[in-house]
């Protein structure tokens, strides 16, 4: 990577320091600006970034488009299906009105369904990622900054969490937890309860990686002068953890965030296959793909569309995560 010139200008700027004459404007770049510049130069990361933004815009727009009647994920079209309930016409019944064809069986518009499905898939995986990151950051900071027996206990909790077989727990706990969510917490049964379950369980099993990374960073941060200074000034633990240490952690947090998110998009699909996530007619990419499996041979467009959309967002998010990491940490990973 050719970051040499940027780094030099940065060092020169700081070397000149206070003696620098006021009129000689030396453009000094902050580390953040340097990272942004590196990121912009990386074409692959920029493309992935654009795709990810595009997905989020599509996800945000979908509910409004459904309300406006542009997308129609629930209307059935029996008239477009043949006697075997397969779509009339080639390629899954692709037409001007239905650019990705119609669903075999009941004849709902496939484009509307996958588009609206992106909204629910991203909403679930984003919430679960946020939950995992929040738990992981808090656990990592507390563990790294306080050390001693608290650190040991959190370490053992991480070991224990990792020992549980994830997919199996997600599946096995669902009936128990759904009953708890609806009967004790009073969440409406059905999709809201199922969505909450998936978010909570993914979050509860997914925070360990974040906690380990954050803890490692905090171990070196807590020996820095500004932390000692804050301690000497009598800052409370809360202040120390979340006002002094936390702002220095945004880089590793951002990187783990972009790498957990695609894993949770895949996890939502896997859970939908096992029947744990939101059920149709509310679409998620996972449950559309699950429904399409029985038509895998006869309607390839319907079978391939949701899988392709999942694959694109997972690949883009992974590449984006790599790009962010490389941009923030120019030393490692050539």
């Amino acid at each position: 990577m050719t970051t040499g010139t940027e780094l030099e200008s940065h060092f020169i700027a700081t070397d000149l320091g206070p003696e620098a004459p006021e009129d000689r404007k030396v453009a000094s770049k902050s580390p953040t600006q340097l990272a942004l510049a590196r990121f912009r130069k990386d074409k692959l990361s920029m493309v992935s970034f654009v795709i990810v933004v595009f997905y989020f815009l599509a996800a945000l727009a979908a509910p409004f488009l459904v309300q406006a009647g542009v997308l129609n994920p629930f209307t059935t079209h029996d008239e477009l299906l043949d006697a075997n309930t397969l779509p009339l016409g080639g390629f899954g019944g692709i037409s001007w009105d239905h650019p990705l064809g119609v669903e075999p069986g009941v004849g709902r518009d496939v484009l509307s369904r996958v588009w609206y499905g992106i909204t629910f898939s991203l909403a679930i995986s984003l919430s679960a990622t946020l939950l995992a990151v929040i738990i992981g950051v808090v656990a990592g900071i507390v563990s790294g900054a306080s050390g001693g027996w608290i650190d040991a206990i959190i370490g053992r909790i991480i070991d224990l969490t990792l020992a549980f077989p994830q997919t199996l727990m997600l599946l096995a706990l669902s009936s128990v937890a759904l009953a708890f969510i609806t009967e004790v917490l009073g969440v409406p049964a059905g999709d809201p309860a199922r969505a909450l379950y998936v978010i909570v369980v993914l979050g509860l099993f997914g925070w360990t990686g974040v906690a380990r990374i954050v803890r490692g960073q905090v171990l070196s941060l807590r020996e820095r002068e500004f932390v000692h200074a804050a301690q000497l000034l009598g800052a409370s633990k809360m202040r120390l953890y979340f006002r002094e240490i936390l702002p220095n952690l945004w880089a590793p947090i951002l990187v783990t965030f972009t790498l957990i998110m695609p894993a949770f998009v895949s996890a939502e699909a896997a859970l939908a296959y096992l029947g744990v996530s939101i059920h149709p007619p509310t679409p998620t990419l996972g449950n559309i793909l699950r429904d399409s499996l029985s038509y895998a041979q006869n309607d390839f467009v319907y079978f391939f569309s949701p899988a392709f959309l999942i694959a694109v967002i997972v690949v883009s998010f992974n590449l984006l995560g790599d790009g962010v990491r490389d941009a923030l940490d120019p030393k490692g990973h050539q």
Partner: protein, 338 residues
């Protein structure tokens, strides 16, 4: 060294105990009455009480947990209630240590269920492991030595794409297209070595194992690539080059050796997790392994089976962690036994 091994095992044992405790707490803290499921849909109040007693669900959770742990250590008899055992000695089932429980729905001990299903999951895991290790390490090295080229990008990109498609999509695609539509592969159905010999066993495992291997391949390619690239910048590599050693020898004798040690951890943990069953792959291919067993058990709310498999799976992971840590201390002299 011995003190380290003993300490590591003690921690593992404590973790295992905590695992069983948390599992019990999770499954029994719910308002769902497990006995309701244990005896089926059309179950009278009396039958339900009987099922509850037979499974020991009438006892407090800590007592059930105590019985479970005792069963793992010394074995136990079912039904759990001594009065029921005394009333009908002919239905008493003995479950030998390590006893994982008794599935009321299947009328068999969980140990027997696991014993039937384990060979399938182990076969699948072993063949998949061989595939993704060979594929991952070879492609990883190839990508590292051709770093930045078209080949490098192709390998890393393709494996990432294969990882990004959901496993059940790839599995169904292979089944419906390779096996049914184009018929280039036989439709896989699990055949044990005793039934059909090694060749049939292997042939039937190819498709499901490859599906499973694709999930892990991308990660191993990237790891191997990164480790090889990192170790090739070390000083001793330059020394080896400077003294005139062939490029290939430098790579395989010096570079790879240091690069492969971190892979040991990954392999151990991934393999251990797979031993408890590949849930999605097994359900798509209808392979009667531990994964399919748990899918069926959770659909029927067969609590003893679920708990048994969860704890079995957890102990695999804990055991693998111990083995990895100890073997690391042997492989890498820099590891401090703190």
């Amino acid at each position: 060294m011995w003190a380290y091994i003993v300490r590591r095992c003690a921690v593992g044992l404590a973790l295992l105990l905590a695992l069983t405790l948390v599992t019990f707490a999770l499954f029994f803290a719910s308002p769902v009455d497990p006995a309701r499921f244990a005896c089926g849909k059309n179950c009278s109040e009396q039958q339900r009480d009987q099922a509850r007693k037979a499974l020991g669900y009438d006892k407090p959770v800590y007592e059930q947990w105590g019985n479970f742990v005792k069963g793992v250590v010394v074995g136990r008899d079912f039904p759990a209630d001594p009065e029921l055992r005394a009333a009908a000695p002919e239905v008493v089932t003995h479950c030998e240590a390590p006893c994982l429980g008794y599935s009321h729905l299947n009328a068999r001990t969980v140990n027997e269920l696991v014993k039937d299903a384990a060979p399938v999951s182990i076969s699948l895991a072993v063949v998949a492991l061989v595939m993704w290790l060979i594929g991952g390490v070879l492609f990883g090295i190839l990508a590292a030595v051709t770093k930045g080229s078209f080949m490098d990008r192709g390998i890393v990109g393709l494996t990432l794409v294969a990882y990004a498609f959901p496993t059940f999509f790839i599995a169904v695609f292979f089944l419906k297209y390779l096996a049914v539509k184009w018929q280039v592969m036989p439709y896989p159905a699990y055949t044990s070595i005793e039934e059909g010999g090694i060749a049939a066993w292997m042939l039937n495992l190819l498709m499901p194992s490859f599906t499973l291997a694709l999930v892990f391949m991308a990660g191993y390619v990237r790891m191997t690539r990164a480790f090889v690239l990192e170790s090739m910048t070390e000083d001793y590599i330059r020394t080896a080059r400077a003294k005139g050693l062939q490029g290939r020898k430098v790579l395989f004798k010096h570079g790879l050796r240091a690069a492969l040690t971190p892979l040991v951890t990954m392999v151990g943990l991934d393999f251990a997790a797979l031993l408890a069953g590949a849930i999605i792959t097994e359900s798509v291919f209808a392979y009667p392994g531990l994964g399919l067993l748990t899918v069926q058990a959770s659909a029927a709310y067969d609590l003893p089976t679920i708990i048994g498999v969860v704890i079995l799976a957890g102990s695999f992971v804990i055991l693998a962690n111990i083995i990895v840590d100890i073997s690391y201390a042997f492989i890498d002299p820099r590891v401090r036994l703190g």
